[in-house]
Symmetry: C3
Subunit: 357 residues, 3 copies
């Protein structure tokens, strides 16, 4: 990983009045460019094999310029072209996934947020140890299939993109469902409830609001992911019947639906975020900027967190002009704009090293 | 119940330029404080055992001050501390539920809306007589289980918060499902369709718009409640299969999803609201301010109303910056802001006694 | 069909500074009037048997005046009363349906968009030939029931409004389900996935943005239709179980839910729209203004288009104050406002004949 000291040196050479915000042309890039423009930054779209013509349809989100790369290796090699333009990179889920953790960590370009978080997020066991040590309730793991007493989600290791899993309601269904040709799998409690994807933002430099550590925690929005085919599967028949016809549920994210949560749960929502942040400072120097807890609320109004995403999530895309939550902070502000504002504030306070790595 | 005359006397002593809007710190309080602030009022958060730190995360909705109470009895006892501050209380569902109807009725503090509605709302039979006499279609009641010919919802009396019910598709399923240890239950037609929670506002002082009686009726927004676990239950299997595994649907509200209704149904939506208001004047002096009809639209495009809520509902929370409907009245206006505006208008017209009780 | 030349003559006699926007009082009329008012046009509500009192509840969407007709024939007969007022008619789904294609085509009143599209939309086979020749993937048709190998949707011809169809998972279910008394039916692949209704706008006169042909294509918003009873049917039981009780799914549209799509699918969304437009110019002189592709996204992230609507759809109603997509073009702009703006721009550029027919 590129040392934070090295990044600080690069940033020291930047012209603070001429910073360019850049990201990969996918995922939440429309929102990120839109927010950067609103805050007055130059914008640069990075394209490896992404198409870019679609930006023409959204003039208020089209980056000022594009830079094209042959491959992600090419991208790493040409880091100096970016730093020559005073570029700050905003990571998002597709950016990290396509580039790969190692390359992303090694990139000698100032990046918004703390890149040390990648190691804690990537490995499921390490992620769980972080969250559970922060007091977060997660779905139970079941080590031995014989101990299945309640519904479970069985995931084949190495499965990608919402496939390679099945649901079993008891041990018998597990035995019927398991594909013995698969090398390994994990078994996890299937939590009954409704899903809320909570979009937080942690600022290490903000000195007002909901204070956590040296900074402040915000809740900017929330959504429910829309997943193909599971979300409309029931129209064809029950999962049990469909199984007989060789049709199985999949969880491929295709979009996002806006939602709000019961107000009486907000205290707990913020406390969960706070605990995750505090633990992140103990473990790896802090989670900075946007993150998302992916939760299920049971009918006892308890939260179970099944995953954390440590950067902007696509679930913020319905809120390009503000959400019911961010409108109570600053009307009309998206997560994309919040990131740009954080960079602007840090620059103006001469504290860019607090928010970049 | 505190006589309206007593409330009018209290209000007469209020400094009209120094009114404070107060509510219990739960349910829709963020929206209510946000709206009151937008209309220029002072705000006061009332906390019995509610946490209040979460308001720090939403500066535009944080009340100017908090008042803490040991219990709801304590709250009633200290009414004069509130009236000394020229407080007008905005009721919401949790406020009334936690406090209890009797205490809420007895509170010697001016309250937005007509507290006489509580008696007509609380008892299911009385509520039904009100709505049906207003021409509202409700799900049929079935007195004798042997008459079950279509799907029904069986509710155990005294059941709270979305539990204590079951669905039966015929008499056989009823017999299989019924818990004989329960003292009593009601059986009601299960209406197939899609749910729309319609958020109305009745102003007795507004002289333009959709006129009803002396005032005007508004439709501010609508939502669909998100209920755990029933809304995502189908992913695990059919209700029939799950029953065999000892898993049953529950209807605990965890959040709200924005929605709009087919435009050709709006005439009927407004007519239903009108009839409910007119009947409320005949029966108990009128329903004032926000209310919600909780409806199912069948595939014949008929409305069945399964409940009325006679104050602001949490389903308005997605619309803190306006809804597709309120934006056609006054852009950006939430139900919380509408309430504050009504109080301001009534004050300016010297008609506060029309909207308080 | 009234010749375009005739319409051009009528428009030539219009006072360009005194145009009135008119539509039938249903469907998306609130949005259309709201948008026309924002752009400074006079507005006229056309009512055949529609109630109009509900507009009183939405002052910013209430047309300046109403004109009432005894029947749709009466409407056609009185065309000159409309042209005397410099009326431009905005069509919507209910308008065309109630009036009937033939009468709509014959109406001697300038209408927004190209009325030649009606013939290409009305007949399912011709619509399919247009879309498939534009490279759009549609659900497969199955000519012979014996070839049913996968789930299918069986539609009885002449069925209206979301009834008169059934789902079969295999040939056996088809044989059990088919109603032999029905004269004819079509069998079509049942596509598993999540539905996105994509709201486009094609301007033949805009010279910037996402250029297609002589003009530019926009993506203004998207929604998911809410259908009774199918969308909440699963709560009662699986479709298989319900069938045994004589209860069948229906697809009657009752409302619309806001949604956004995965950003990486937007390139394809725009390309589909582009292909449809280009083909429309080859086939019948072009599709002008708003249109909607009604799609299913499979878990392989492929689009299947099951229908096209060639005018404003009710799915735009959640976005009367802008959508996450239109906010990246012009903040706060609805499809209704976009139409009015197109008419204004065309007038100012002296190009009204490009957008009317």
């Amino acid at each position: 990983m590129v040392p934070r000291k090295r990044i600080n040196e690069i940033v020291k050479d930047y012209d603070p009045e001429d910073i360019t915000i850049a990201t990969l042309c996918s995922h939440t890039s429309l929102q990120l460019f839109n927010g950067a423009k609103k805050e007055g930054f130059k914008t640069l779209g990075l394209a490896v094999n992404q198409k870019t013509r679609f930006y023409d349809a959204f003039p208020l989100s089209k980056p000022d310029e594009f830079m094209r790369f042959d491959s992600y290796d090419d991208f790493v090699d040409r880091a100096s072209e970016l730093t020559d333009r005073n570029v700050i990179i905003i990571p998002h889920g597709s950016f990290v996934e396509y580039m790969g953790t190692k390359r992303f960590e090694a990139m000698e370009v100032p990046t918004f947020g703390n890149r040390s978080v990648l190691r804690w997020e990537e490995d499921r066991d390490i992620q769980r140890s972080w969250l559970e040590s922060a007091g977060i309730q997660m779905p139970k793991r079941i080590a031995d299939a014989k101990d299945i007493k309640e519904p479970v989600l069985v995931k084949y290791n190495g499965a990608k993109g919402g496939r390679g899993f099945f649901i079993a309601k008891d041990y018998m269904e597990f035995k019927m469902g398991i594909d013995l040709s698969q090398e390994s799998y994990t078994i996890q409690e299937y939590v009954l409830g409704t899903r809320y994807y909570l979009h937080y933002f942690y600022s290490p430099i903000r000195k007002s609001g909901y204070r956590v550590g040296e900074g402040a925690l915000e809740l900017l929005s929330m959504d429910r992911r829309d997943e193909s085919n599971i979300d409309e599967l029931y129209k064809l028949g029950s999962t049990e019947e469909l199984k007989k016809h060789g049709m199985f549920p999949s969880l491929v994210v295709t979009g996002n639906i806006p939602i709000v949560i019961r107000e009486s749960l907000l205290s707990q929502v913020l406390e969960m975020g706070e605990n995750v942040i505090q633990k992140s400072y103990e473990l790896f120097g802090g989670l900075i900027g946007p993150f998302c807890l992916e939760t299920i609320v049971t009918d006892k109004l308890e939260f179970k967190v099944f995953e954390i995403s440590c950067r902007i999530v696509a679930g913020t895309n319905p809120y390009i002009s503000g959400s019911p939550y961010s409108d109570m902070i600053q009307p009309g502000m998206s997560t994309g704009q919040r990131i740009a504002k954080e960079i602007k504030d840090a620059r103006d306070m001469n504290m860019l090293d607090y928010v970049l790595s």
